[in-house]
Structures are given as C-alpha cells and as structure tokens.
Amino acid sequence: MAAVAGVFEVFRRGKSGGAMEHAGSLEAPDARLAESYARQLFGRRGEAAELWVVARAAIAHTVGASDELDHSYRRVDGYSIRDRLRAARAAAGVERGQFREGAQGDVDA
C-alpha cells in the first residue's frame, strides 16, 4: 500500500455486533503509523472491539439530499390508515376489536 500522508479518519466499533461509529481523526505520515496511533488514541481502554482507519482523501463525501419530490411513500410516516380502517370496518359492519381475543383490545386505532 502506498504511503498516505496526512489526515486519517478513525471509526470505532465499541462492542462486536454494534455499528461502526466515527471516533475522530488523527494525523500520521503513513497508514501503518496511523493504525498504531488510532489504537492508542481511540482504543487504549478496551473501548474498541475494532477500528477502521481511513485516509481522509479516500472518503467519498456526500450530504443528504433534500426531499423536494416528496419521497414520503418510502417511509412509514407517508401512510395514515386510521380513517380508512374506520371506514372499512363501518362498510363491513364490524365493531372495532370484534375478532380479537382476550383483554388486550385493539391497540392500533
């Protein structure tokens, strides 16, 4: 691997199974030293199950696009079924919770 001088970004997995999280950055003359600095800076108390050390220059950076075209149909907040559900029950002549057993009741509307 070629020497990458400059700034490295470090990502840390606290516990195995968890997600990688940005831990911070450091400056090092090459990737090998960056790795050893990263272990000292971000993992010396056993707080890192795993580290990713990435040259900043290698990171493709993009920011979240604004939702100008309304993509709410991709999300749960794009749907509101409450009124439709009520209308469907009325049309079917069914009481809310009629087919449910036990004392739990209908929790969704």
Binding site: M1, A3, S25, L26, E27, P29, D30, L41
Partner: protein, 298 residues
Amino acid sequence: MEAGFFDRLAAGEDVEAGDAMPDAYREALRRFIEMHGNSELMGALPERDWIVRAPNLQRKLALTAKVQDEVGHAQLLLRLVEDLGKPRERILDDLLAGRSKFHNVFHYPTHSWADVAVIAWLVDAAAILSQKALLGCSYLPYRRVMKRICWEESFHVLHGRDTVLALATGNDAQREMLQEALERWWAPLMMFHGPPNDPARDQLIAWRIKSRGNEELRQEFLDVYVPRIWELGLRIDDPALRRDPSTGSWEYTEPDWDDLRRIVRGDGPATAARLGQRRDAARDGEWVRRCFALAPAA
C-alpha cells in the same frame, strides 16, 4: 449569509465540520479550542515531572496513563484547530514563542507529591465543570470530542481524589503536606473560571460555543468541593469564604484578576520553565518526527 447564520445559531441549529460559517464565528471557535488544546498539552508537563517521583508503581502507572490522556486530548483538540484552518506547525510555533495562551493553573510550579494530588483532584474537577459546559457546543465536531474527553476526565478526578485520600489518612507529615498544597493551589483554583462577567453579554455563550458563565461555574465548584475539602479536616485559607444560606451562593475574597491576566499573558511563576521544557521536548523529539516522516510505507 452572516445574519442568517447567527439567527439559525440562536434558534438552536448546530454547525457541522464542512458547513459555511462567518469568519467571526470560525475565529472565536479556533481561538477557544486552540487555548483548550494548548492547556491540555501544557497541563501534561507538571504531572510528567512527577512520574519518576511517584511514591509507588501503581501511582506511577496511573500518572503515566493520565499524562497520555492529556496529550491525547491535545491531539484531538488541535486536530479540530487544524480543520478550522490553522496548521499544527503554526499552532506549536505560536505556543513555544509565547504568542498563544494556556490556562492559568499550568503556569505554577509543583512543590510536592501533594501538589500532584491537589491538581489531579481539584484542578481537574474545576476543568470538568468547564468542559461539561461544552457538551452542548454549537460546533458539532468539538461537541463530539468533548464527549470523549469528559469520559476520560472522570477517571482523572477519581484518581486525584484517591491520591488525596491516601495523604489525608496518612501520618501528620502527609496531612501537613496536603494542607500546604491546598493553600498553594486555592488562589489559582479561585481564578480558574475567570472573572465574573455578564453571561448575557458573553459572545461565546450567545454563539452557544459554551453554555455557562464564569461565576456560575465557580459557584458550582465551591458548592460541590468546599464541603468535600472540609470533611477531610483541611482548612481553606480564605476568612471570607462562606455560603450565604439565604441566597445559597458562596462569598469569597475577590481574587486579584490583574494577577490572572498577567499570568495568562505569559508572566506566571513557572511559565518560562514550562515553555522551556516544551521547547526542549520539541528539539529532542525532532529526530523522531523526522524518522517517522520518512518511514517507508507498510
């Protein structure tokens, strides 16, 4: 862009690393974080002096870990300063030449192991209060770094308290040593948070770089730590020190704020010696940095 930026800031919006920001905000931030980073770097020195003189192996290891933490904090903070546009080389040059500032408490000499204990307990405790007031900072990269720093500082205060307790439960000579150290450090501690100012007129608060005023921080320090100091049978050398039960706030002898300004400008009892140590370290470590810079790639 400027007016809109400050409106959004006032409305509680935060600033991310790559966001556009007015020069005034960037400069205030840069200066503030640079002083913080410099203080961490200089704060490692009085403690480093005592690694070789620590009373036992356990203390030596803990102190070494603490010094590594402080230098690590400096690295995290000065990285932010670099990303705000000032190269590391210039940061260090300015520090060594006495052109930039660091915290008042690191301008004093240490006389005994009890000084190390008092610094680790009370100076770190005072510092944590200031640092916690940065956890809501509007500049998000700083906020994230502060989260990590505060996590590490909590070990420092406990280590300091443990060291103080060892002396407080020791023999007469040890208790006397502790009392003397407290007397030496009380005045610097009372100055630590800076002169009382009007938080409503504090630009750093208005821009949500920090969240609490100087006097508020000092009052909390007194509230928490004076009882803890007294309960160890230690005396605080200030006849005016008392908590007014009707207002709940502490009265104390006004520190000499001119003295504070003079010290922070670089005219403290140990300023020259400490900067000298830092210069020696920079010179002695030069060949190591050169080797690393030339290190072949893995």
